[in-house]
């Protein structure tokens, strides 16, 4: 009991000033919500850009008067020009990958729920936590600045795709529109983002290792915590490499270095070294940038999706009313994905000109990573087997996650093969693959998380009817958008083309292109139901108690919303594993982690808390 008394003495009162409470807050819950709001704003920007891209691709040459008003430079006469389109591609990818898929799952939900789920009062370093958000926020402001100060009247940002391949990204204005100030800002934004993510990652790792409450052994942690922890380790090891690469790229652009620029280039009619605007370069390697970028870029894929996997496992078990099937296997699979994730970056580079022998190695490692991914899928199905499923909105999205993860992930079997990458590389097949698995599946994980944890965060449910409409349209919509893109890839449709009008072999795909665009616009509009539901429910939603879903983990032992120090000064003590549903003989169909052991269990038991240490 002395522990509880000790904690009670140190009970933390919330700050009273508005600025310390809501703006420069040290409270991990407020910071989590700040990250989520950042992602919610960023995703609207990213989605709007995708709608503009679809309009341009399906109805080429159409005059959209509104675009002429909004973007007189990029869409003169209302017709989107090629460089405007390519800057949309670049900004859409960058904003979605960095400011949506990396912020909401980890910085948002991870920040809010990791400390509560392990029974801690806050993160290990609250100040660092605040800094990590505000640094990320500055990164977002800088990427928005790239829209307005792109260095070219006809673009809203740089041209380079989210991968920013050198030397296109390294040469500066001379390489064409979209290579001026916007590219500098793009690099600076990503560098700032790297710093913010590093601060966050350090905090997550320290918190998880050091601040678990009494009884919360590693193998009693919810799978969400394992996912956030592994994600933090990936971020810690991969972001510094991108940061280094970004700095080198900026030096190539601004200081005349030649990390990524080889000698003897002849760009836009000018030979390297013959004018001051194009200084002499020699000895740089364009492929080096790709190695640095993808050494970060592939783990980034898992940074985006692991938290979604964690949330899905957590939510599936809760609404299946059944323990997670193969908890240990799930933990090992997360680790295996994280570890292998660092050895497969070369599959983005089979056709880059790197050694064909290393391509072979990367190929075999890449298909190996399908094994832990499949193991996770089998265990999700195992969790549903023999279940008593409650079809709540979060459960629908979690089931949707499983379906979409399979749909998007399985085509990695094609793309991971060296020879099959020859026809598929840089086509819409790739686009379809990674949008489904890294984009849509991850977002479904986050939708599930939002509907699931909203009652905890705000003390009210989100509207269920709206949530279900949101699910049905979005689920069918994303299949109709991204599956046809696979067949576009089979035919050979290349990515990052602002029009498909130049090639005869692409004309037969036009009906599909139009179909995809129409569904995409409907699906995007449907997302505003979700936004409306969020805001409406904060004020008008049905009230929720501390444990509205009859769940088992620690976040459900405290009030909704939790007090400033999470557990009102008394840290919970954990006696059992995280997913004790349907325990035979127990009075309810769920046994919370804080439920003390019964006499029979203490006397040797029959392994109900299978993960006891």
């Amino acid at each position: 009991m002395s522990v509880e008394t000790h904690e009670a003495v140190h009970r933390h009162e919330p700050p009273t000033s508005f600025i310390r409470k809501y703006i420069f807050s040290l409270d991990h819950k407020v910071i989590g919500i700040q990250y989520i709001i950042l992602a919610l704003v960023a995703v609207v920007v990213g989605m709007t850009m995708s709608v503009l891209m679809r309009m341009n691709l399906s109805w080429p040459g159409t005059n959209w008067p509104i675009l002429a008003t909004l973007f007189p430079g990029g869409a003169p006469g209302g017709v989107i020009n090629p460089e405007f389109y390519l800057s949309l591609v670049t900004m859409h990818g960058t904003i979605m990958v960095f400011f949506v898929l990396t912020t909401a799952p980890q910085g948002g939900f991870g920040n809010y729920f990791l400390p509560i789920q392990i029974g801690a009062e806050d993160m290990a370093f609250p100040v660092l936590n605040m800094l990590s958000f505000w640094v990320t926020f500055v990164g977002f402001i800088v990427i928005l600045a790239a829209i307005f100060f792109s260095g070219s009247a006809s673009t809203i940002g740089p041209i380079g795709g989210w991968t920013g391949y050198a030397p296109l990204s390294a040469l500066g204005q001379i390489a064409g529109p979209g290579q001026g100030m916007g590219m500098n800002l793009w690099i600076i934004s990503i560098a700032i983002f790297c710093v913010g993510s590093l601060l966050g990652a350090l905090n997550f790792i320290t918190t998880l290792l050091n601040m678990r409450t009494r009884g919360m052994s590693l193998m009693r942690m919810p799978l969400t915590c394992w996912a956030w922890f592994t994600t933090a380790v990936l971020a810690l090891l991969s972001f510094p490499v991108l940061l280094g690469g970004g700095i080198l790229l900026l030096l190539d652009r601004l200081a005349g270095t030649s990390f990524f620029i080889p000698g003897g280039l002849y760009v836009s009619g000018i030979l390297s070294g013959t004018t001051p605007s194009f200084p002499v370069h020699t000895g740089g390697s364009p492929i080096l940038w790709q190695h640095l970028f993808w050494f970060f870029g592939h783990p980034e894929v898992y940074i985006a999706i692991l938290p979604g996997m964690g949330a899905t496992s957590h939510i599936l078990s809760t609404f299946a009313r059944k323990p997670v099937f193969g908890y240990r296997a799930m933990v090992f699979a997360i680790f295996a994905i994280g570890l292998l994730g660092f050895f497969v970056w070369g599959h983005h580079m089979f056709i880059s000109g790197m050694s064909p022998y290393s391509a072979m190695t990367f190929s075999i490692l890449t298909l190996s990573i399908g094994v832990p991914s499949a193991v996770k899928t089998f265990n999700w199905l195992g969790t549903l087997w023999g279940a008593r499923i409650r079809f709540t909105t979060p459960m629908l999205f979690a089931i949707g996650f499983v379906s979409l993860f399979v749909a998007g992930g399985i085509t990695g079997l094609v793309l991971g093969q060296t020879s099959l990458d020859l026809p598929m590389h840089d086509t819409y097949f790739v686009l379809a693959h990674f949008h489904l698995v890294m984009g849509v599946a991850s977002i479904f994980g986050m939708f599930a998380a939002t509907y699931f944890w909203f009652p905890k965060m705000f003390g009210r449910f989100m509207n269920d009817a709206l949530g279900k409409i949101h699910f049905w349209i979005t689920f069918v919509g994303v299949y109709c958008i991204f599956v046809p893109m696979h067949v576009m890839g089979l035919v050979g449709m290349p990515r990052r083309y602002s029009q498909f009008t130049e090639y005869t072999f692409l004309t037969r795909l036009h009906p599909l292109v139009v179909f995809v665009s129409i569904v995409a616009i409907i699906t995007v509009l449907t997302q505003f139901l979700f936004y409306f539901n969020l805001i409406w429910s904060i004020f008008k939603g049905k009230k929720a108690g501390p444990n509205p879903w009859e769940a088992t983990t620690l976040e459900w032992t405290t009030a909704s919303p939790p007090p400033h120090d999470n557990f009102a000064g008394v840290l919970p003590v954990v006696y059992r594993g995280p997913y004790e549903f349907a325990v035979p003989g127990a009075p309810n169909d769920f046994v919370m982690q804080t439920e003390p052991e019964t006499e029979t269990e203490r006397a040797g038991g029959n392994g109900h808390n299978g993960h006891r240490h």
Binding site: I351, G353, T504
Partner: protein, 281 residues
Amino acid sequence: MGRALAVIIWILTLGSVSLFFVKQWWLPGAISSHAAALDRQFLITIIVVGISFTAAQVGLGYMVWKYRERPANDRAVYTHGSNRLEVIWTIVTAVIFIGLAVMGQSVWASLHFNKAPVGSFQVEVVAQQFQWNFHYSGKDGVFGRTDPSLIDDSALNFIGLDETDPNAKDDQTHSVIAIPVNRPVELILRSKDVIHNFWVPQLRFKQDLVPGMAIRVHFTANQTGKYELACAELCGQLHFKMKSYMLVLPEAEHQALMALPQDQFQSRITELLAKYPLPTY
């Protein structure tokens, strides 16, 4: 709700799979000697993908259909998993996935682990923003010297060919690539500015052209005709227009073409482009 979800999952699965049976939207007809093996590997893989996808979705739909909540005190099955199942499905998927990866290497190896056969027809490819330049060695079979400092766009010397080099005398350049049928072709790929990518869908072949590197690749085209050539690596504003054609010609016609001096060479290629139609899709 559970039944509706199951049905939707099954319908989406059926719809997704059936899209891959539309012949018009399948890979275009292949024209290279390695394509048969590649297409076979593709088909095997897509069948494995299709079966796994369908099995997983049908299984998911089944769980959702069957195990919906029931009234009263009927609880779910209490189990934490099965080590035996974990071992079985780990091994089975490992064998299938890694097996596919290993099988997929043979085409790759045939293209990339060997040098081009002796007697291959060589073309030097020099890409630049939004334009392809193909450099042919002419009758002597030896490429003239090139140097970036000799590039002169106004004289149409896009590749910086050294006119004083005797080997350059009979060299031709053109924006269209003309290769012989049924004879190995070796490309020497360079770029003047940024990364581009050589992509002819019917060839089942793709390779980046990286500035600062001369990447050698080889393949054999086995059907005559005219095919669209695209750039498949984002290279800037007019990337989508960086288009040209690949002519695959009968050996005699090709030899005659290569023997022509530069001025006649140009007009002959124009004639050949008109002579051969694009494949019908």
